[in-house]
């Protein structure tokens, strides 16, 4: 168990360092000088040089990275180039919106996808199973930003059931604003999860231990939930954990389309304006989210399956 956490932690650090370094390299390859971007085309060379120094751009690349990670360890992600506010503060302000969006998407996708998959497996080849099959495949193949646009047009602009933009204030209003983006991000996952759960449910239901449970006259509901579903959701949990990276990229689109605050919106604006410290801060945080998501899915699996638990 302890070894598992050490290993996970080590792995996470490597992933974060790699991600940030690669990103830095990429940013440096993008044409255009960040200092010039900030100061505008009419800045004097002296001013540019001074700004470059202030941003640390005059130092060698490895040096920049070393300083950056040194600061990260102290919880300092640098300062916003334009407003001089702490990047940590800015990112932390936006983080809850993105977390909320992702959590809501996973929650409704799982709440619908897992029972649907379970039902499909138990009632194979019925009309509901067939409809779920077709819908799953079609929602899986539609990109989430297309889904977001249509959802916006239909339910916000057309029917006016939900607000089109923003995140809202207070619980009820926030929730109301969350519905459409979460729908757009989560919809393809309903299909994914339903298919995965259906397949693994069929496999588990065919196993001898389920037959044995039937031979003991256990109640059908008990067999389905405690003997079959508990094992059949394991791959779905892993899939969700690994899929948070995709959910994050879907969240970026959703935040832009629905003009929601959040890490995605922040990152897009920051890239657009070459606001490097913000970009790096966002990447660091999203990588952190992915690492934590994997950790959670591992722990959920360990909780459900003693064999996983013992191998942690």
């Amino acid at each position: 168990m302890l070894f598992y956490f050490i290993r996970r932690l080590g792995l996470s650090v490597i992933v974060v360092v790699l991600a940030v370094t690669i990103l830095n390299v990429m940013l440096h390859l993008v044409p255009g000088d960040p200092a010039v971007m900030i100061l505008g085309p009419r800045a004097t060379p002296e001013l540019i040089a001074k700004t470059r120094e202030a941003m640390g751009l005059d130092r060698s690349f490895p040096m920049q990275m070393a300083i950056f990670f040194g600061n990260v360890l102290r919880g300092d992600l640098g300062r916003d180039v334009f407003t001089d506010r702490s990047v940590t503060t800015i990112v932390m302000e936006q983080l809850p919106y993105t977390l909320m969006l992702i959590t809501a998407s996973i929650a409704w996708a799982a709440a619908l996808g897992i029972p649907l998959g379970c039902y499909s497996a138990l009632h194979r080849n019925t009309w509901l199973d067939k409809i779920t099959g077709v819908l799953s495949v079609s929602t899986i193949s539609i990109p989430s930003f297309v889904m977001a646009l249509y959802a916006l047009l239909a339910f916000a602009v057309g029917l006016k059931w939900f607000p089109a933009v923003g995140a809202g204030e207070g619980f009820a209003d926030s929730f109301h604003h969350l519905v459409l983006p979460a729908f757009a991000v989560g919809i393809s996952w309903v299909g994914y999860l339903a298919r995965i759960v259906r397949a693994s449910m069929l496999e588990v239901l065919g196993e001898t231990h389920v037959r044995m449970a039937r031979a003991f006259g256990l109640r059908e509901r008990k067999i389905v939930v405690a003997y079959a579903l508990r094992i059949a959701v394991l791959p779905a949990v892993t899939l969700i954990g690994a899929g948070v990276a995709y959910l994050l990229s879907a969240a970026v689109f959703a935040e832009v389309i629905f003009a929601r605050p959040g890490i995605g919106a922040l990152i897009v604006k920051a890239v657009d304006s070459r606001n490097y410290p913000i970009v790096l801060g966002c990447v660091l945080v999203t990588t952190g989210i992915i690492v934590v998501a994997t950790l959670i899915s591992d722990l959920v699996n360990a909780w459900l399956d003693p064999r996983v638990r013992e191998n942690l």
């Binding site: 001898t208 044995m212 449970a213 031979a215 006259g217 008990k222 003997y227 003693p306």
Partner: protein, 330 residues
């Protein structure tokens, strides 16, 4: 020996499987009885329908199975006509089952103790009493340090131990009938002997009846009182174990003996191999079902389907024209 009163009587049972390539007639007119307190062995090559028969005794058949005819009379009720609810009451209570592969027969994510507790859900006993019953049964099947093993998971046990666990679970509710579908086939010979001896002791202690499926004649000889020989979905010979072993009357039973020395201690783990193959049960050939592989087949075997003829004492019958009085006379 006069036949004891039957606990279970299977009459005229026929079962089809729906398959993409047509209906597979897996059981045809199966007839046999299980007397109270006796052990009945069902033998035959792999694919003869032994498992299908064993599972249909508690109507635990796959979704594509269709029981087309027959009755299974158990303690005065026809299993095939029971409602789901009544059937569930019998399962695990009056009739229990042990499966072939002990490695997959237990719920992998639940402790042994919990599984043993859950199968007693109908009992009005307290949790402590259920726990005691579980421990006692585990001790009886030879699980060392039983009380502390209740919190272990199936994967903590070896194959032989897992089969003991399955047997303990099956007998926990003191059923009148235990159906064991090749419970020792997945185990090595030493373990097999241990399990067989244990089953024998438990059966005589608890006084239940047992249907014991095996493709190994030696195991059957060791354990059973009566034998039912199956071939391609039919009962071709049945009778008391001594009769069958001393005077095998059906050419198929004789062939089984030739392929299998019938001694359990020997390392004959492979399936008996009789030249030829099982007939295609989607198009069941007319005449005797064994004719294609029978060294003694003659004209009549092509045309007619043999009924069970009495071999030696009343209880010993075989579906072979060689036992027909007319043929014997001719």
């Amino acid at each position: 020996m006069p036949q004891a009163e039957p606990l279970l009587t299977v009459s005229d049972l026929s079962l089809d499987f729906g398959t993409p390539r047509g209906r597979l007639h897996a059981l045809r007119n199966v007839h046999f009885a299980v007397p109270k307190g006796r052990i009945v062995g069902i033998v035959g090559e792999s694919g003869c329908g032994k498992s299908t028969l064993a599972h249909s005794l508690m109507r635990l058949v796959p979704g594509n199975a269709d029981i087309v005819a027959g009755t299974i009379d158990f303690e005065g009720e026809n299993i095939l006509e029971l409602g789901e609810r009544r059937l569930r009451e019998l399962r695990g209570q009056r009739i229990s089952m042990v499966f072939q592969d002990p490695m997959t027969a237990l719920n992998p994510v639940t402790t042994i103790g919990r599984q043993m507790y859950e199968i007693q859900y109908r009992s009005k006993r307290s949790s402590a009493e259920k726990r005691t019953a579980a421990i006692e049964m585990l001790e009886r099947v030879g699980i060392p340090d039983a009380a502390s093993r209740l919190d272990a998971y199936p994967h903590h046990f070896s194959g032989g131990m897992r089969q003991r666990l399955c047997i303990a679970m099956a007998l926990l509710t003191r059923p009148a009938l235990l159906v064991a579908d090749e419970p020792t086939t997945a185990l090595d010979a030493t373990l097999e002997v241990q399990i067989i001896n244990m089953l024998k002791d438990l059966q005589s202690d608890l006084g239940c009846s047992v249907v014991f499926v095996s493709h190994h004649l030696g195991t059957v000889a060791e354990l059973c009182d009566d034998v039912v020989v199956m071939y391609a979905g039919e009962v071709v010979e049945k009778g008391p174990v001594r009769e069958i072993f001393h005077r095998p009357s059906h050419p198929y039973t004789q062939a089984l003996f030739e392929c299998d020395p019938g001694r359990i201690k020997e390392k004959t783990r492979e399936l008996p191999t009789i030249p030829g193959e099982l007939p295609d049960l989607r198009n069941v050939p007319g005449g005797c079902i064994f004719k294609a592989r029978c060294p003694k087949a003659f004209g009549r075997c092509e045309r007619e389907h043999p009924e069970p003829y009495v071999a030696e004492g009343e209880d010993h019958v075989a579906r072979c024209f060689l036992l027909d009085e007319e043929e014997v006379a001719a």
